[in-house]
Symmetry: C2
Subunit: 453 residues, 2 copies
């Protein structure tokens, strides 16, 4: 019986997070305020605890994971590394395919890896409540779980259209004790002003962020928590790639290519950055961020300073962006519908150190179904993007006869996304190649700040 | 960091199934035909392959698991044994609580353990298609997965009310390539006759069984597959208890009490029978089957010959029963709404070798939420029955100061049951203590066959 699952013991959960900044050829560009000057730590102190602000700015290679966070992670970690024997066989490929399965967390994705760290540091700072936004609900449920573990109240502003269409993600948050409000709500100035102008507003991630940030900024007992994009979030996710390195070492393998879906960047950063450290040390490994053709931030966006939110409340970040008022179509991979990308991922891509690839929606569901029929696990629509790229490359190996080692992060299961699979089977899904003109138009609204040379 | 998960390697998946019949003080009573005479293997050959019929009748203690079945099981097995440190702490109990987590299977419950075995033996017998019924959808999705793994077509007759209310279990079956029909359907005589009489019929498990059996009996290429109750099904589930024994051995623990929810009996038999072997060899261990007060088969039923289905098509089995036309109320643990019980479990209970306990619905959800908030995993409503019993006993330990080892089978996650949690939070769930008169009335319809002395 060929070995399928490569497991680690709980004492092999990483002891430190890996900070990619230490191995980047150039220091990251600082976020800028409305005045065009770099934003200092003080500007963030109203909504984040000091420890997280320090991590956000840190250039230290290794940052110790506090014991209570490691103990929280051991609720589901280490996650298994799985050899996709059955998929390889179905494809008839000589490639060896591996995936790290993050769907073993109670919330069903990689998101709790940072949620427990953020909840811990806020609890240590004496904070009693966290506010956050959620679109599809993956992040909101992860923070609900983490809040429950560290005794913090959690309020989630859930984009109204998701609140109505995804009631079971909402139920999950209730089960873990969180309060969930449809956004726009009447609980914040931001929400009330939107409702006054548009009583029937279905909400957006931008509005929900504004509500959650406003609440955190206006209450001393409350901080804000974000599930992707920021440096400290990507940092917390590096437990994924570090575990995978140990697991490959145990079986004497090493990946030729590492793939992950890329929306805000925490999934990709989490699995790929530890391998980037190897690459920086001379090892040959390709790192591929996979995004939807309908929201092609890395592959078609500009590298420029832009706002992180739709409304323009956040500091300006130097990143690949489609323009902060770019509205991606309603594809079924909510986690990948973001106009920008992590500054760290963007800089590595800009410097030619990682690759990016865009794949169309229908092809991702086709790949997801093929994967589910071979490997059993039904993947989240986001994860299907990486699977599409891996299957394409495995089939290329079949043509060429190459036996490459292809490794991807299976970031979550699709148990709360079955409506998307239904639409796929019913032939109701479409591909969206975003028209160049629409991108050009959104990019024309970029704030007038020059990127540093 | 205290150890939480006790893991096994893939090569520690059991090599044999354990057959409890070998250790029972008395041989099981044979099933009877309509003439009151024991039913022989031939009567079953139209719908089951020979290998499964042999297992159904076998008294051998150990039956070898074929290599392809062990390889299929390694898709998700061995499952973890988890020490519920966090729940213990929340309860403040000196009891040590452990659970085996079967929700790691792709279908989310223990059911695939027998589905892959049944699919394998049917494939070996040259069968091309399997027909089955499903209520809540757990069994249908498990057989869909197993059919996909062994190249068999699967048709699932899904009780119409579930077909409409649980669309995502249906999507899951589609993803694994199965055909799903709302039952009653127009594809069978049984379905058509029901529809003719009751065009608006919402279906029942009894009707769906009739449709699936009719299809299997009338087509040479098709067999029938059942997800619980029968001896061979319980046999296949004994991998759960055997793994748990190895896991307890690794940490030098042994349970004082083993708990599982009990509907048809495969969950309870799977985890408890291997411990019954220890008990038969002189070890002290209590085995507790937990059922709903709304369907109190073991605790309030009679030990008598009765039909396995609602309509009276199956052989008569000697078992605890509430009467084959007993209609349990629509509680949210569909897997426990069965008028009868496995003949093996029934006999062990009748002989005083195992215990049974009934718990009310509201208390099971309260226990499930408490468990989810401490341990992360959101349990299936069926599993909540075992959790209720364990929490009650852990609180009794707190009173008495006893440090008992309490172990239960967490048979599945609740990702497809969140609507039930919603109703619980909304205060819409009720307790049903089934009135004695209703039970007496159903028991008055028992077929007139005397149980052997």
């Amino acid at each position: 019986m060929p070995q399928t699952k490569i497991l680690l013991d709980e004492n092999e959960i990483p002891t430190h997070w890996y900070n990619v900044v230490a191995d980047m050829p150039n220091p990251p560009a600082p976020p800028l305020g409305p005045d065009g000057q770099p934003v200092g730590p003080d500007a963030l102190a109203a909504i984040f605890p000091e420890a997280l602000i320090e991590q956000e700015m840190s250039a230290e290679r290794w940052i110790k994971i506090p014991d209570p966070v490691r103990e929280a992670l051991n609720m589901w970690r280490p996650s298994p590394l799985i050899r996709a024997h059955r998929l390889e066989q179905a494809l008839g490929t000589p490639a060896r395919i591996y995936y790290k399965y993050e769907g073993v967390s109670p919330a069903g994705s990689h998101k709790p890896n940072t949620a427990v760290a953020q909840a811990y540091y806020n609890q240590q700072a004496g904070i009693k409540r966290l506010s956050t936004e959620t679109g599809a609900g993956q992040w909101g449920s992860s923070l609900a779980l983490a809040g429950q573990m560290f005794g913090l109240e959690v309020r989630v502003y859930m984009v109204k259209v998701s609140y109505e269409q995804k009631p079971f993600r909402r139920s999950m948050m209730h089960t873990w004790g969180a309060e969930v409000l449809a956004s726009p709500s009447d609980q914040t100035e931001a929400g009330r002003s939107i409702l006054a102008a548009h009583p029937d507003s279905q909400g957006s991630l931008g509005i929900a962020i504004s509500e959650a940030v406003e609440e955190a900024a206006s209450r001393d007992d409350t901080n804000y928590s974000l599930g992707s994009v920021l440096n400290h979030v990507l940092l917390h996710q590096t437990v994924i790639g570090q575990e995978a390195q140990k697991q490959f070492e145990k079986i004497g393998e090493y990946p030729d290519v590492v793939y992950a879906p890329c929306g805000g960047g925490s999934n990709f950063g989490g699995v790929a950055f530890p391998f980037f450290a190897d690459k920086a040390a001379g090892k040959e490994v390709r790192l591929v961020a996979v995004e939807p053709t309908s929201c092609p931030t890395l592959t078609k966006g500009h590298y420029a300073y832009d706002f992180g939110d739709a409304i323009g409340m956040t500091p300006l970040m130097l990143m690949y962006t489609l323009g902060h008022d770019f509205m991606p179509p309603g594809i079924h991979a909510g986690g990948l519908r973001y106009h920008g990308d992590s500054a760290l991922v963007s800089q590595l891509y800009h410097e030619g150190l990682i690759e990016a690839r865009a794949v169309p929606q229908l092809g991702t569901f086709e790949a997801g179904v093929q994967f589910a029929r071979a490997e059993g696990i039904i993947p989240a629509p986001e994860s299907n993007h990486a699977i599409r790229a891996v299957i394409d490359d495995a089939l290329a190996c079949k043509e060429s006869g190459e036996s490459q080692v292809l490794f991807f992060n299976l970031s979550g299961h699709g148990h709360f996304d079955m409506a998307a699979y239904d639409r796929y089977f019913a032939g109701e899904l479409e591909d969206f190649d975003y028209p160049e003109e629409a991108i050009e138009e959104a990019l024309a609204h970029l704030p007038k700040v020059d990127a540093p040379a």
